[in-house]
């Protein structure tokens, strides 16, 4: 099964690290990276408007940095919540941050459109846990 990832982070190096781990952990993955949350949002809004000019990349998982200039992770989440396309409603979004500020964690956890909070840097084990959560292994 192919898994599509959308990575949103203003830090290029973090995007690189995250992409590397995904490539290592997930056999069949497609990764799209965005350095600006606004651009990522525009991309997703294309479904909504049913424009045919996008390239049929539907993310299964979004890894979203919290602290970004212009539009931060929470602002992106709120905007995402306004989109009603079923393909968007299916997306599992995780917030990433190098801060473990309690308020950030609580906000992330309580946010309707957010599956959870990941403390940076991403590691193979953390990624594995997300995948286990989204795609539970069938019971033996």
């Amino acid at each position: 099964m192919k898994i599509n990832f959308m990575l949103i982070d203003d830090n290029e190096i973090d995007l690189f690290i995250n992409r590397k781990y995904i490539e290592k952990e997930v056999g069949n993955a497609e990764v799209r990276t965005f350095q600006k949350a606004k651009n990522a949002l525009k991309y997703l809004q294309c479904y909504e408007n049913d424009k045919e000019d996008h390239d049929h990349f539907y993310p299964d998982i979004i890894l979203l940095d919290i602290n970004m200039p212009e539009m931060n992770g929470f602002e992106f989440l709120n905007a995402l919540g306004n989109l009603r396309d079923t393909r968007i409603l299916r997306i599992k979004t995780y917030l990433l941050s190098s801060s473990s500020h309690l308020n950030d964690i609580l906000d992330a956890e309580n946010h309707d459109n957010c599956e959870g909070f990941i403390n940076k840097p991403l590691t193979g084990r953390k990624l594995e846990q997300i995948l286990d959560e989204i795609f539970p292994k069938p019971k033996q």
Binding site: N11, I13, I17, L102, G116, F117, K126, Q129
Partner: protein, 495 residues
């Protein structure tokens, strides 16, 4: 014959004499001629003036000595009293050792049959004590009046039972900018600001009472509005008294604009500093975690032993840097969390938490046993404590078995007082924790693999441990797999 006469006569005249003696001693009266000279004086009269009767008979009555009450003597001689029948009044006279006395006096003219001249019966009551008390009262109340009026700094306002301003002082006038005539007779709500501006007086009193109970403080802070419509903060005390069957309210206030301005500035500066600390800590953290991510990746790659050694050294450097930045970060967290504190009402917090939890279906069949030691007083950040209980109880509920006829899920929560700390225990009879998991349950994003548990995000217990950390507390867990778990949190009092 009436009863008294019969009684007196029946005693052979002895009782009659005794009664007369008693009357003599205890009543104060005299008989004067038209010049004010004494023709007769009762024993009581002589005692009052402390003179033997022989010293005053035929002489000017002590009522008129030292030129006192000259007008009255004139009345006696000019026969104006004869026509007025009776004179009543209080005379100021010189008594023992020239001490002033006030004598309530009734003078009745009596016509003598044989020469048609008038004599005067004077009946007295000593009211000196009463008079002195009254003047004392007058002195002190005029002093209060003076203090009240002259105080220019404080605001004093007196209201009637309906909240109408009936009195105010110079300080009030100065602070509000109204003249007395503009404000007397007006409802006090005209002077109030914020939520009380133009409020019903009964509402106002009710709110004050609530505030007072909430803050457990007699002195409240309140906004007022001056004539220009400008609001200013005051410190405020209200008192109530009853006088002649009516209620009155006294309001004492102090304009604290200056103090508040300084306080606000200080508060803002502190916030700025805290924010700066938090931001710098965060900014530092970001590149370190990126570097850590790169090192992690490098470790996975095929590396020569030389490069491996270099990676290890880089790892140690990054570790040191992370210790620094996390220390900075933690202290900014504590600042942030600790800045707001109050006495924790455990009962209320737990009731609120359960209310939220019980809205969710899964909690319906649970038995909660809650025991809180009433003597516990604990000051902390209420939001943190709320979240702590929320997560602890949520966790306990998540890992229990479904209710069945043989086993009800039970959660015991106790709060006990300990030397210098509070001990919180949350126990469940649920699924328990496996040995291999127990050391990792507080890690962020760690989820033990337990069957039939709902959605878990691996954050609940991490948040619990984070809060306990920031409150300088400790958390321990005891658990038997398939039997249940106990979480024991101890939180020290803030020094």
């Amino acid at each position: 014959m009436n009863i008294i006469e019969r009684t007196i006569n029946g005693n052979g005249g002895k009782l009659e004499l005794k009664i007369r003696d008693l009357l003599e001693e205890n009543s104060i009266y005299s008989v004067l001629n038209s010049k004010g000279f004494v023709e007769y004086a009762s024993k009581g009269f002589c005692t009052l003036f402390d003179v033997p009767v022989t010293d005053i008979l035929g002489k000017l009555s002590p009522l008129f000595i030292n030129n006192r009450n000259k007008g009255l003597v004139k009345n006696l001689s000019t026969k104006s009293l004869e026509n007025g029948y009776k004179w009543k009044g209080t005379l100021k006279v010189d008594g023992k050792k020239s001490r002033k006395m006030w004598i309530k006096t009734t003078i009745m003219p009596l016509e003598r049959n044989y020469d048609s001249t008038f004599i005067f019966l004077t009946i007295h009551e000593d009211v000196t004590k009463l008079k002195l008390e009254l003047s004392d009262f007058k002195n002190s109340s005029s002093m209060h009046e003076y203090i009240y009026d002259s105080v220019k700094v404080g605001i004093v306002i007196v209201l009637d039972s309906k909240g109408i301003v009936i009195k105010w002082n110079k300080g009030a006038q100065r602070s509000f900018g109204y003249t007395s005539s503009e404000i007397l007779g007006e409802p006090v709500s005209r002077l109030m600001g914020g939520k009380f501006s133009n409020a019903e007086f009964s509402n106002f009193l009710q709110h004050i009472e609530i505030e007072r109970n909430l803050q457990n403080e007699e002195i409240l802070e309140l906004y007022c509005t001056d004539k220009q419509g400008k609001e200013f903060p005051t410190e405020f005390v209200i008192s109530k008294w009853r006088m002649k069957g009516a209620d009155y309210y006294g309001i004492k206030m102090l304009d604290i604009s200056k103090r508040m301005a300084i306080q606000n500035r200080l508060h803002k500066k502190t916030k700025e500093l805290e924010l700066m600390l938090y931001r710098s800590a965060h900014e530092l953290n970001a590149p370190f975690s990126s570097a850590q991510g790169l090192i992690d990746l490098m470790k996975i790659e095929e590396n020569s032993p030389k490069v491996k050694e270099l990676i290890e050294m880089l790892q140690r450097t990054i570790d040191q840097a992370k210790v620094l930045s996390s220390g900075l970060h933690k202290s900014s967290l504590i600042l942030d969390n600790m800045s707001y504190r109050k006495t924790i009402d455990f009962k209320k917090i737990i009731t609120d938490v359960l209310k939220i939890l019980k809205d969710q279906k899964v909690y319906k069949d649970f038995v909660f046993n809650i025991a809180i030691d009433d003597s516990v007083t604990f000051v902390s950040n209420p939001n943190l404590i709320f979240t702590l209980f929320n997560k602890l109880l949520d966790n306990a509920v998540k890992y229990t078995y479904q209710a069945s006829s043989s086993k009800l899920p039970i959660i015991d929560l106790t709060i006990e007082k300990r030397e210098g700390e509070v001990k919180i225990t949350v126990c469940d009879n649920g699924k328990g924790i496996r040995k291999r998991d127990i050391n990792r349950i507080f890690e962020i994003y760690y989820r033990a693999k337990v069957e039939n548990t709902g959605r878990s995000n691996g954050l609940g217990l991490y948040i619990v441990s984070k809060i306990v950390d920031s409150l300088n507390g400790k958390i321990a867990v005891e658990s038997k797999f398939n039997q249940g778990s106990c979480f024991i949190v101890t939180l020290p009092h803030i020094k």
